[in-house]
Symmetry: C2
Subunit: 199 residues, 2 copies
């Protein structure tokens, strides 16, 4: 009880890291900037996170958990209607591109910033994206898709294309087609499920 740091310390560091890493990119942000933003001492930061790589990994893991919480909120109202849940999640992606401080997907971005095969940034990115792909596949099964894996990969194509193009070209570029593309894919890969979802 007495040897652990102040309770809010770790959370504050992660919040500051999320803001800085997300807005400027990971390699663009030094540990000193994280320290300045939190007001925490250098020694304490390195006590919580032994290295920058550990901080990166913790940030991505926490972001993954928080993202799934919001995704649940968006899809829960359409429980039992997998096609509409998929469309709701895709609308959620599209909305993120429209936000003024959108800077791309932290998983695609961070993975591309660290090319070393075993880097935590790559591993967490892979985990997050595979998790999303699995969610799509499960919804595909629920929607009685003939090939749920193909459906899931198609939807991942739309997600990646929406976020990658959104980062460079903004919301008025290819990202604007996210929902239309999703409907097109659903009509092809889960036609029965879609008839109930969109007139």
């Amino acid at each position: 009880m007495a040897r652990t740091p102040a309770p809010g310390t770790r959370r504050r560091i992660l919040e500051a890291s999320a803001k800085l890493f997300g807005e400027q990119g990971v390699r663009a942000v030094g540990m000193q900037q994280v320290i300045d933003a939190t007001g925490v001492g250098k020694s304490l930061l390195y006590r919580e996170f032994a290295s920058k790589d550990e901080l990166i990994a913790a940030w991505l893991r926490e972001s993954d958990a928080q993202w799934w919480e919001r995704a649940e909120e968006v899809t829960a109202p359409h429980s039992g209607d997998p096609a509409r849940q998929i469309l709701a999640l895709m609308e959620f992606f599209h909305a993120s591109v429209r936000e003024p401080d959108f800077h791309g997907c932290i998983y695609y971005n961070t993975s591309s910033e660290f090319r070393e095969p075993g880097h935590p940034g790559r591993q967490e990115a892979k985990l997050h994206l595979k998790g999303l792909c699995n969610w799509f596949r499960d919804k595909g099964v629920e929607a009685r898709a003939e090939d749920p894996d193909a459906l899931a990969d198609m939807l991942m194509l739309i997600v990646g294309g929406t976020l990658a193009n959104g980062e460079v070209l903004g919301e008025t570029g290819p990202a604007r087609m996210a929902l239309a593309a999703t409907e097109l894919v659903l009509r092809q890969y889960a036609p029965n499920a879609l008839t109930t979802a969109t007139r």
Copy 2:
């Protein structure tokens, strides 16, 4: 004639930069590494490129020119058949993901590495991607698509999704659907053109 550097200097610097920036990412590579890889002196490098940003811009511009040369080679054989040209270019993208030293698209990657609005990395990325989008639109017009802009943005979604997912998840992931997705989009947005292309 006598005050210009050795003729191959600039080209050698650009070739070394292309390899290093492409494989490791731009922020991960220092100017010293470029110097070590070329054998050129530091002063000479800064005579050719006044700053790292200038080197980045020159690298991306040169890569754009070289990319369009190869794209021409791939699409030229199908001149007059825009749907097939689009499919050929998409197959070209898919093939790049399959290459053992694929590290994502240098334009999506570099744009995400430099968030400052006016950064040359962002500007060149925007130019390249808009150029590609325009090429798709022109082919859409040639293919008598009802909405060539929508078709182009749909295809950009597939390109971005293929390259972004390919960087993280490899060729066996969503990238494998690139061609099927293209056919689906063509069938929807340029159905007449496609009948001649795929049985």
